[in-house]
């Protein structure tokens, strides 16, 4: 019996949802009550559950069922039958692993179904962003709308007062500013603060990141010490629902599943001066700075400079055309410091800014540019500033805030 499907809206919600708390003051981390641990089946979240359990906390393990891996089966063709998929959440094997860990620790454990919410709040906006010529970060959307929103609500619903995850980041309360502060994980190679820039004070107050002060090898050693069955499981990649990282193939497959035609997506590859040099099958196949897959013969290497979804044109050019000093960022969320005044400040805000996960934070000056909007001026021009990615502002390890690159 086919179900009538609602029209698909590829839109991103405006910023994190503010949850009204009728009972008043925000619960403070460290208060009594059970802790809900978000267990993915991987080593990190398993160690979190183990650490808290041996510390004597009352722990409830919850695994979020986010995406049905049986959907879009054409994307799984790269795996030999019987291969254990690695780096993909929500596969049934990961649920078995999480359950095995919970059983070995002797903690209550449940799987919760967030598939609908994940599709609406993460997958559809992810596709919508690509079609709009931007390069999205689904992990940030997932943190904002799933892990620190619906999961938090689920945790409270089952009677937990706090949640704990395996993120490499640190949360502290600063009594003098009265704010919860977010810092990079001690292990900078694993630091995940780039994906956490949307967290609100309320969310930080209820979250625990027990791995923030640890190096990854220490986490693995602790996993073995705690006799966690998945201690030697390989690390996962960042985007869980896209097998082998081929986003364009995922979008194509999703469109085919939904019966949406891909005919109208094709367009032209053009140079900055408007010369047509090739064709493509959709702007979602391209991200700023990309060199692979252009199939254009030229004397020097060519890169994607930008995409224009309205005309379905992809602009390509030389590497030096990718350099930018000024970046505008919207939906800015301030974390460790109070939102600066939108009036021109007496002293400009200086910070190190990261414009993609693997980017080395670079010194810049931040000035207000309207409500929830700022302008970043880098000291040195940066390569491949990509619309749709996050810009996260640091002062050393301290995360000041972040927003979305326009």
């Amino acid at each position: 019996m086919p179900e009538t499907t609602a029209p698909i809206v590829f839109a991103r919600s405006e910023g994190p949802i503010a949850v009204a708390r009728p009972e008043g003051p925000i619960a403070v981390a460290g208060s009594e009550g059970p802790i809900a641990v978000a267990m993915s089946g991987g080593v990190d979240s398993s160690v979190v559950a183990g650490m808290l359990h041996v510390r004597g906390e009352t722990v409830v393990g919850l695994t979020m069922q986010l995406w049905n891996q049986r959907r879009l089966p054409q994307l799984s063709g790269d795996r030999a039958p019987g291969d254990r998929p690695t780096g993909r959440c929500c596969s049934i094997e990961d649920v078995y692993d999480a359950r095995h860990v919970a059983q070995s620790l002797g903690i209550p454990y449940y799987v919760v179904n967030f598939e609908q919410r994940f599709e609406d709040e993460v997958v559809k906006p992810f596709i919508g962003e690509y079609l709009a010529g931007r390069t999205p970060i689904p992990c940030t959307l997932c943190n904002n709308f799933i892990k620190f929103d619906q999961f938090l609500e689920m945790a409270e619903g089952v009677g937990a007062t706090r949640i704990a995850t395996g993120h490499y980041a640190r949360i502290d309360f600063n009594p003098s500013s009265g704010r919860w502060e977010l810092r990079r994980g001690v292990d900078h190679t694993k630091d995940q603060t780039y994906f956490l820039f949307g967290l609100t004070q309320d969310q930080l107050a209820r979250a625990l990141f027990p791995l923030g002060g640890m190096q990854k090898p220490e986490v693995r050693a602790l996993a073995r010490q705690l006799q966690i069955p998945t201690a030697d499981k390989p690390d996962s990649q960042e985007i869980c629902f896209v097998p082998n990282g081929d986003y364009a193939a995922f979008i194509d497959a999703y469109f085919d599943e939904q019966g949406i035609s891909r005919q109208d997506l094709a367009g032209e590859l053009v140079t900055a001066d408007g010369q047509v040099v090739g064709e493509h099958s959709g702007v979602h196949h391209f991200t700023v700075g990309q060199r692979r897959g252009l199939r254009v013969a030229a004397a020097e290497p060519l890169y994607v400079i930008s995409t224009e979804p309205a005309t379905r044109r992809v602009i390509i050019g030389r590497n030096d055309e990718l350099l930018r000093s000024k970046v505008h960022v919207n939906q800015v969320n301030w974390i460790s410091i109070a939102p600066p005044s939108e009036a021109p400040p007496s002293q400009p805000l200086r910070a190190e800014v990261k414009i993609r996960n693997k980017h080395a934070a670079s010194p810049a000056t931040i000035t207000p540019a309207g409500t929830g909007r700022i302008e970043i001026c880098f000291d040195e021009p940066q390569r491949a500033v990509t619309p749709g990615q996050g810009a996260v502002f640091y002062s050393g390890d301290l995360v000041l805030g972040g927003g979305w690159i326009e």
Partner: protein
């Protein structure tokens, strides 16, 4: 922590008398019931006795009972035994064992139900085709407890000369079942819903019915089901049947009183509660409650953490809950289906336990409504 079990439609514990009856069959009377020697004969004797007891439960003849590995196998045998070229008429509220088996046949018609979960026999009649070989309608629904008009449908099947199967897994043991009065050709039951263990069930096959086996490999069960007979399982099912024959009417009355008390207490003490399928004739132990503005996923977990085991319908392979096809079939939205909880009572439950459950429900529902007022507006359209 004190734990209470309110999920008897999922499964039941093995009762002490059943355990006592099957223990010696596991250790002492271990012969293969098909063997010629003494050991085999002792096993055969137990098996024959179990078959007579199981037949009595359904008012059938012993030779009309085929022991199976459970309800799923009984349903599959019933539907697939007429060949895969057949057309089957069934309903939208069947157990997945019937729905999935029906999907294996050449064609299937799924007759809808009304808001109480009941099928209209005339809809069955209208769905008849020249190639229709079988009609399959669940007797008591596992989620709602709704009792279908089996006798009326049986008359339609008889007139049309079509076999009629009913999945009685949730009905047997809760109401009296007489396969002759019902007029069915085939009837499935499962041991583990009747205080016998998992892994045993039976299919009633009316005398003279031509039914091809789905398992091949021996002449067991009158060539209807190959495989060494599960004598301990059959003995357990027979013993469970015997207990029901002796105790069913009074136990069912007790459970019905308890169930009505549960529903009345919940309706009195919690606002915005509805009894799904409450208007239909139902089996005595099942209550499906819908709480406005509540997602039952956290409710079920919160209750479990307090020691109360209930159910929210179906679960997917990972164990996460999914909106029930039965609840959407009676016209509930996905959101309403996600707000529904199934409580199914059994022998161990008493008034004090039911009152404790009501108390826990009052607390958990109030907590969930306090922390998630947003859920009062449907989040899943």
């Amino acid at each position: 922590m004190q734990r209470y079990y309110f999920d008897h439609n999922a499964t039941t514990p093995v009762s002490p008398e059943v355990l006592q009856a099957m223990m010696p069959v596991l250790s002492e009377v271990y012969g293969n019931a098909s063997s010629i020697h003494h050991y085999g004969q002792m096993a055969r004797q137990r098996l024959d006795e179990a078959r007579r007891q199981t037949a009595s439960l359904l008012c059938a003849a012993p030779e009309e009972i085929v022991f199976t590995s459970g309800g799923t196998e009984a349903d599959n045998l019933a539907l697939l035994g007429f060949g895969r070229e057949a057309h089957v008429i069934t309903t939208t509220v069947e157990h997945p064992a019937v729905l999935a088996a029906a999907a294996q046949l050449a064609s299937a018609t799924y007759v809808p139900v009304d808001s109480r979960g009941l099928v209209d026999p005339d809809d069955i009649r209208r769905a008849l085709r020249p190639d229709t070989k079988i009609i399959s309608v669940i007797h008591a629904n596992n989620e709602l407890g709704a009792l279908q008009p089996i006798e009326d449908i049986a008359r339609i099947a008889q007139e049309a000369g079509v076999a009629f199967h009913s999945d009685g897994v949730q009905a047997a043991g809760k109401i009296g079942v007489d396969v002759n009065q019902l007029g069915v050709t085939l009837y499935s039951i499962a041991g583990h819903k009747l205080y016998a263990p998992k892994g045993v069930g039976a299919l009633f096959v009316r005398k003279g019915t031509k039914l091809a086996p789905i398992l091949h490999g021996g002449n067991h069960e009158r060539n209807r089901r190959a495989g060494t007979e599960n004598v301990p399982g059959a003995v357990a099912l027979g013993c469970a049947a015997q207990w029901i024959i002796e105790h069913c009417p009074e136990e069912s009355r007790r459970l019905e009183t308890l169930r009505d008390h549960l529903e009345q207490s919940v309706l009195d003490r919690i606002s915005g509660v509805h009894v799904n399928g409450g208007g239909a004739p139902r089996v005595c132990n099942t209550s499906n409650l819908r709480f406005d503005g509540i997602d039952t996923e956290p409710l079920l977990i919160a209750l479990d953490l307090r020691g109360f085991a209930v159910s929210s319908g179906s679960a997917c392979s990972s164990g996460a809950s999914e909106p029930s096809h039965v609840l959407t079939a009676i016209g509930l939205t996905r959101e309403q289906a996600r707000s529904s909880l199934r409580i199914s009572l059994g022998r161990a439950n008493d008034l004090a336990q039911v009152d404790a459950l009501v108390e826990a429900l009052v607390g958990c529902v109030a907590h969930l409504r306090r922390i998630a007022p947003s859920k009062l507006a449907p989040a899943y359209a």
